[in-house]
């Protein structure tokens, strides 16, 4: 039986076979590049605004979130400020380059690498109703109201009711049930 040889088809077929084999190295999948912890902490922080009560005179004007220095949280907090309000207050983000520059704010975030400035920060806000949030082990003992910690890979937070109330702030008991309460 004769098999017909058609060169045009033969070339077509060879190209065809090659196409399958070269596929193996293709596919650059989307790789990582997102700081999940910053988002998680931001969600926590927004929740704190719902479970903590500021005095009446703090419930007007902008709701000020201060950050001491550079923080991986900053970008997320910016997003939060753009899209959310605290009750009817707009969220305003303020960056303090120096602890001496800290002015009145509702929340003050002290990143881990600025933890040694906690005492200075406390001095700056002691007459205000500021919720001090830190991100390093043991800082509730040094005056932080809320301190982010990690337990078995999980982001958690310590809550010092005493340190919260020092600043004339009230804690909703629901927050206590979700926190690691320390005093």
């Amino acid at each position: 039986m004769a098999y017909f040889l058609n060169w045009k088809n033969l070339v077509k077929r060879i190209i065809y076979i090659i196409s399958f084999l070269t596929l193996v190295s293709a596919t650059p999948p989307q790789g990582p590049g997102y700081d999940t912890n910053a988002k998680i902490k931001s969600v926590f922080i927004y929740n704190f605004t719902k479970y903590i009560e500021w005095p009446k005179n703090y419930r007007q004007g902008n709701f000020i979130v201060g950050v001491l220095g550079e923080s991986s949280l900053y970008k997320e907090l910016e997003n939060m400020a753009k899209t959310k309000k605290v009750a009817n207050q707009d969220i305003e983000l303020v960056k303090f380059n120096d602890s001496k520059a800290i002015s009145n704010c509702h929340i003050l975030i002290i990143p881990p690498d600025r933890s040694d400035e906690l005492n200075n920060a406390i001095k700056q806000v002691k007459k205000n109703s500021t919720l001090i949030i830190t991100e390093k082990e043991g800082l509730t003992k040094e005056g932080a109201a809320i301190n982010f910690i990690v337990q078995t890979n999980k982001q958690k937070f310590e809550l010092s009711k005493t340190n919260v109330e020092k600043y004339n702030l009230k804690v909703n008991s629901s927050l206590e049930s979700l926190a690691i309460v320390v005093n």
């Binding site: 399958f20 596929l23 999948p29």
Partner: protein, 302 residues
């Protein structure tokens, strides 16, 4: 009188048989003259005649003509009916008589068609790798074509080791679904699950396949990141807690795949980046930093 009746009947039957044989032979003559359409008409006619469609060789010639039609008109056509007709006819010929006179050519023909199915599967997956909007029905077509390839290959070359091709096929399939999943910004969960499934099949066959290991790791990682990324700032703390637990579970699932990919190819940058981010998400900053430094060193030495 009765004698004449028998002679008449015999002549009619013999005539019909001759005519039938002529049809097939004529078809082959047309085929040799490259008159494929005429050959097709004749084998189509022959296959309708009970006297001939009971013969394995008729089915073989029928398949042969359709195979030539496929070669002439349809190579690369993922919807070719000629290919389907040819392969069915070839299979039927062997099924009817496994030792018919054209058996060797029949087997060769089946092998040729098997390669066509394999190539069609490849063509579809090629398209799927570059077209994120490709319909999943088309991807499914790659699966059916590949299954057909394997079915035919088993007949034409029973001892052929398909492992390498299976690995390549499943990898491409996984990649096609992975691309769909990524491009949907992880909303197309079904594609994500399929990607995971097919990369998993690659690993069943080759548990040291670095690309598949990396991809499975990335799928889990991205799924976990997506859970966190799509959290609303307003998310209730109870729900946040559950989301965190699930995302950690996924990061922990991603870790061994990424670690193994790294062990097998320690200088692959994307794996080092992957490990750095997985550890960061697991709040292991020390290890995350270690891989970040390793990446920096690798880039400096380039």
């Amino acid at each position: 009188m009765r004698k004449w009746a028998y002679i008449l009947l015999f002549t009619l039957l013999a005539g019909t048989q001759l005519k039938g044989q002529d049809i097939v032979q004529q078809a082959l003559m047309h085929l040799q003259n490259n008159e494929l359409e005429s050959a097709k008409e004749l084998v189509d006619k022959a296959i309708q005649l009970d006297l001939y469609n009971q013969k394995a060789t008729t089915w073989f010639y029928y398949g042969y003509v359709y195979k030539e039609l496929y070669k002439a008109n349809d190579v690369g056509n993922i919807n070719s009916t000629n290919l389907e007709t040819a392969s069915n006819a070839y299979l039927k010929a062997l099924e009817m008589d496994n030792n018919h006179p054209e058996k060797n050519n029949n087997i060769l023909g089946i092998n040729y068609l098997a390669i066509q199915y394999y190539n069609i599967a490849g063509t579809i997956l090629n398209q799927a790798t570059f077209n994120v909007n490709i319909d999943t029905n088309i991807i499914n077509k790659a699966i059916t074509n590949y299954a057909r390839y394997k079915e035919l290959k088993k007949i034409s070359e029973p001892n052929f080791d398909n492992t390498e091709r299976d690995i390549s096929f499943y990898y491409q399939l996984g990649s096609a679904y992975h691309l769909k999943y990524d491009s949907s910004k992880f909303a197309d969960k079904k594609s994500g699950k399929y990607a995971e499934l097919y990369f998993g099949k690659v690993l069943e066959l080759d548990n040291n396949n670095v690309s598949a290991l990396y991809n499975v790791g990335i799928i889990y990682y991205n799924e976990a990141v997506d859970i966190i990324n799509t959290l609303d700032y307003d998310e209730d703390l109870e729900k946040l807690n559950k989301s965190l637990d699930y995302s950690i579970e996924l990061f922990l699932k991603a870790l061994p795949y990424m670690k193994k990919a790294y062990e097998l190819e320690p200088k692959r940058k994307e794996t080092i980046v992957g490990l750095s981010y997985i550890y960061l998400s697991l709040n292991d900053n020390e290890k995350s930093e270690q891989f970040r430094k390793e990446l920096k060193m690798l880039e400096e030495n380039e």
